[in-house]
Amino acid sequence: MFNKKWTVLLLTLCLALVAAGCGSNNSSTGDSGNGGSEGDKVTVNFMHLWPAGVSAGQNKIVNQIIEEYQKENPNVTIKQEVLDNEQYKNKLKVLSASNELPDVGVTWAAGFLKPYVEGNLFAPVDDLLEGQLNGKFVAGTTEAYAIDSKTYALPLEFNIAPVYYNKAIFEQLNLEVPQTYEEFKTIVKTLSDNGIAPIALGNKDRWTGSLWYMYLADRIGGQEALANAISGAGSFKDESLVKAAAEVQSLVDSNAFVKGFNGLSNEEAKSEFLNNKAAMYMMGTWELPNFTTNEEIPKEFRDSVGFFKFPTVEGGKGDINSWVGGPGVGLFIGENSKVKEESKKFVEYFVTKWGEQSVTGAGVIPATKVDTSTLELPQLYIDLFDEMNQASSITLFADVQMEANAAETHLNMIQALFGKAVTPEKFSEEHDAAITKGK
């Protein structure tokens, strides 16, 4: 490594220079760090991704929780930093390289979390799970944040991905919700023949296309086949998985997806659905506010949104009640935080309060159990809550399950598969290679 003294010397010189050069109002910050030892006053740094401008619901809840918490614990100050998704992930990476993670922050599950855990940057939260929060989480959610039987973050969201459809368009063309994949293909054909884009898909973002592949893999090969292939116990060359990939391409051939889907972002594709230009849209339950309570979207449209479960494939092993989904973001506590205990307490408090308020306040389905009978919720929410309760299995999004490197290959291959730049066989080979390499 380079000589540290030199760096310091150089930078001091530069600093002096700049100070002399502008000599303006740079108020000295002092060290706003965590003076944990000084009296009882502590500051907990909290980094999240719900800006007030667009995630108003979430932001309000966060601020309320913080305010209440500070009132109950006058010695604690929670200092927030808000970034958008992309910038948040970048900053987390830069911070972790210098071992400067915030005390509390937002993380994703499984593959995202793993390197941070292996680098000893996230603190285990099993003590919280055994304490007050015992039994509060929906079964299967905290496991996504567990590595080697220790849990490293507490989930805040829980989502599944149904196929939303435009009832008005379906009615107009006398279409019915499909029960089998054959019926689904007939619907696609009818829509396409009538000049309506069947499915809105923004595959520039790649994970969007991954959902379709995952469902086909699940319905054809059953839940195990895909799970094994991802874990490395099985293979993507499994006949059923190759068939699923081929099926994706045959959907593309039948013009199932909006024009130019590989160049559209999810945001752009979604607007095709919201503007009645595409009849179906597969997406996580985080979109529910747009189909129920969001006043910016015409009521007429919101009232005509329904959903169906991905249909079963004839001869396939999959169950119609098997879903793709899982917990979204969760909260971690920095292993090297100077105020670890206070941070843990705050996270415990936060998760509980979040669970109580997030559905009604922000339309977010929390990972903690919700008593739907006491809440006034739009019908679409109630129906999906029911589906979640009946689910036979929930497969975590493939790109979240995989480690970063393999996930990138998976996502790139998805885009190539949809763009017909690779054959299903090549698609499977590349996956196996990436997953073996990651081991």
Partner: protein
């Protein structure tokens, strides 16, 4: 004269401040980047020293060379489009009526941030209701291509906004250079009966040759490490057909968590820039420098 102009203390005083800033803020990171490139590192845990393995892998990495090819294409296009910018600047710098107003208007797009430019061009290229395809359909072309989803077209579709984005920058530089030519030189030529074309090619161009050389280097180096619009508009897709070196570096380091390899790409990019710059300087080298006199 020479004695005064080679006073070491004054030279140090003039050069060192900037040099120190550059050393601390750019060179240490460059050296560290080169060093990270010698390691296997996900950016989080401990590094494992692996010597030149990353650089070796890079040499046979087809994806990297594809991205390098795309960057190089962009560089060629950028350098070629300098001719257009120069022509526009010449017109604006001439004494036509309203030149001042035109100049201001022409440079306005360069004030926009990449975020705005990317959004604008995404709307222009939208496959169904974008301006380009609406126009093509209205003149009877059915089923025009989805520009940003077509692997064979996407790179060229991206070049247009990138070249447009930088037009203002180069026009501004050329304009200032042309305006800096003493009017007396041009007047003298006019009295000698030179046409405006002759003045442009025989007097103005040679006089701003140094500036032109500089802009060639700027355009090429800038293109080789270009990132902004591509990242927002296509994210290197579809299937990597618009991936450039800097976006490949970003994807490797920040998405795939392979910071060692990503750093190797970053450092290699610098080496490529160096080689290309050296070649350009050799090609454009001239013995004499022309001064206004």
């Amino acid at each position: 004269m020479d004695k005064v102009m080679s006073n070491k203390k004054i030279i140090a005083l003039y050069v060192l401040p900037a040099l120190l800033v550059i050393m601390a803020v750019v060179y240490i990171p460059i050296i560290l980047t080169a060093y990270y490139g010698l390691n296997e590192w996900n950016g989080i845990g401990a590094m494992t020293f692996i010597g030149l393995d990353n650089y070796q892998a890079l040499l046979t990495d087809g994806k990297f060379w594809d991205s390098a090819w795309h960057s190089l294409l962009l560089a060629v296009f950028s350098a070629a489009s300098l001719i257009i910018y120069l022509a526009v600047a010449m017109v604006l710098a001439s004494k036509i009526k309203g030149a001042n107003l035109f100049r201001k208007i022409y440079l306005i797009p360069m004030l926009l941030s990449s975020v705005a430019i990317a959004q604008l061009w995404l709307r222009i290229y939208h496959p169904t209701n974008g301006i380009v395809n609406s126009f093509l359909e209205s003149i009877g072309i059915s089923n025009p291509p989805a520009w940003l989803a077509e692997p064979s077209l996407v790179l060229f579709a991206l070049f247009i906004p990138i070249l447009w984005q930088y037009a203002g920058f180069y026009i501004l530089i050329y304009y200032a250079a042309l305006k800096n030519i003493p009017a007396s030189l041009v007047e003298a030529a006019k009295i000698d009966g030179a046409t405006s074309m002759q003045i442009a090619f025989r007097i103005k161009l040679p006089l701003i040759m140094e500036v032109i050389k500089v802009t060639i280097v700027l355009a090429v180096v800038g293109s080789l490490k270009y990132f902004d619009l591509i990242f927002v508009m296509t994210d290197g897709g579809p299937n990597g057909s618009s991936e450039v070196m800097a976006s490949y570096m970003y994807h490797t380091a920040f998405r795939a968590y392979d910071f060692g390899y990503g750093s190797a790409i970053g450092f290699f990019l610098l080496v490529i820039c160096l080689i290309v710059t050296w070649v350009i300087r050799k090609l454009t080298a001239s013995k004499e420098t022309i001064q206004y006199s």
